[in-house]
Amino acid sequence: MISLLIMFTFLLAAIFLAIRSGMGKKMNLEQWAVGGRGFGTVFVFLLLAGEFFTTFTFLGGSGMIYQVGSPAYYVLAYMTLAYVFSYYLLPPIWRYAKEHGIVSISDFFSTKYNSSSLGMLVSIVGIIASVPVVVLQLKGLGIIVSETSFGMISPTLAVWIGTIAVTVYVMISGIHGAAWTAIIKDITIVAVVVFLGIYLPYHYYGGIEPMFEAVQAAKPAHLTFPDKGQSLGWVISTVLLTAVGFYMQPGLFAAALSAKSEKVFRRNTMIMPLYTLLLMFVFFVGYTAILQVPGLKGANGDLALLRLSIQTFDPWFIGVIGGVGLLTALVPTSVILLTIGTLFAKNIYQPVFKSNNETQIVKAAKLTVPVIAFISLYFAINGGNALYALLLMSFSLITQLFPSLLFSLLPNNRINKYGAICGIVVGVATVVYLTISGTTISSLFPSFPQTVKDMNSGFIALFVNVLVTLLISLLTAKNAATNKSLSPQ
């Protein structure tokens, strides 16, 4: 009971901060969504970091170590490399966005390619790709609330409570609330994760190396990449795919635009990799759990961190862990829902209904939040995927935006809007087909070497995407050229 009380104190504190930070500000769409583009290094850092340190890292990271072991290291590698990549990618995007008053990834595409249909398509892809991430966070919330209540609240009821809390939170606060909650969240999560990552191995094994030795003796396969399946080929291809797709996530893209100057990104690239090292402590927890709380099958591996903590600590401390866990779900989910709301209002609602009424657009944005939240709630209750599987699915989808974005930044872009639209549509369709039919490179080309066979199937989609983009651009450009030469002028 005490654990539940402490956890709900965290929730109330977050909501209180959210209401306070939103007060005295006129909430038009730009304030609600990108904070009027006035956030400095610290705030942008916190928002970007807040997006990355989510329930995924907290529960999914330890859960993936528990379930499959080393392939979870991919998270550490891709985040680090995504920051390196952002050093070169974000400044030109930010400059262009500032010149043209762009607040979202869809605006960026529709301005760059001068096509509002493309902007609409990008919004739809962004919204679809965000759903698995929201589902992931809600599932995490459900796990946290139900475990922290020591089973008093059923997981299903817990997901309902979580969804309602998040929805209310986002609708009243906007991005200002998220940024302030991110501050408490980041301080507390660093403390809790480092403490757990060091204390648990020492408590059970007398040290980190002895803990690894015990895992090596019992489950040696958990410490290296396997020869098949999530092997080297899988890790390297997944890291590359997710590293380039990282900033295509509408939430992160928008968070990046809220920076005050392009220097902010360059500076952040020095600190952000070190921040990802926190994951190492999460991994330690996952490894400790393998032998201490055995028997969690499949997606239940995500319970590893909390089960181990419950077995080790007094209820009040479980409340603290639950409270921090709750914040790690609240901040990223609210940023994502905010972004989806903005995308829908500005790039779908506005052009379709030809509305220029600011109050109506804000209303549309805010109403999108509960709609998406409850769609995700449905999947959170009915889908059986582990957290990391959801994250990978989202990335395969969102990465399909990357080729056209990269082409658009080149000095003389040969790609036109037709190519971009067809490429994205075909890429997304391929991902959906591959996911539903369970096709992999291995089943398509059984004679390929193992490394190639294990490559992330998102690559097939990306490859088809680029091919179609180039081909259609070439064809339509030729058509336009012949039309011109034939016309009598």
Binding site: G40, S70, Y73, L76, A77, T80, L81, Y83, V84, F85, Y87, Y88, P91, G207, I208, E209, F212, E213, Q216, P220, L223, T224, F225, L232, V235, I236, V239, L240, K260, S261, E262, K263, R266, R267, T269, M270, I271, P273, L274, T276, L277, M280, F283
Partner: protein
């Protein structure tokens, strides 16, 4: 290719290119199995490389103060 671009490739090559050789448990370094140590090492090296890039990149000087 400018120097700042070449430097930016090093983390990719080190982190991912080294994996086939690092994919083993022994020897333990600083309490970590070798594979995990390798990745952690490259995270830290990446941070240092990014600091160097930040320092030498002319784009950072042109802008002047924030």
């Amino acid at each position: 290719m400018k120097l700042v671009h070449v430097l930016g490739l090093i983390p990719f090559i080190g982190m991912l290119g080294g994996l086939p050789f690092a994919n083993k448990v022994n020897a333990f370094v600083l309490g970590l199995p070798f594979l995990l140590f390798w990745i952690v090492l490259w995270v830290i090296l990446t941070s240092i490389i990014m600091a160097i890039i930040n320092y030498i990149d002319p784009a950072n000087r042109e802008e002047g103060v924030e």
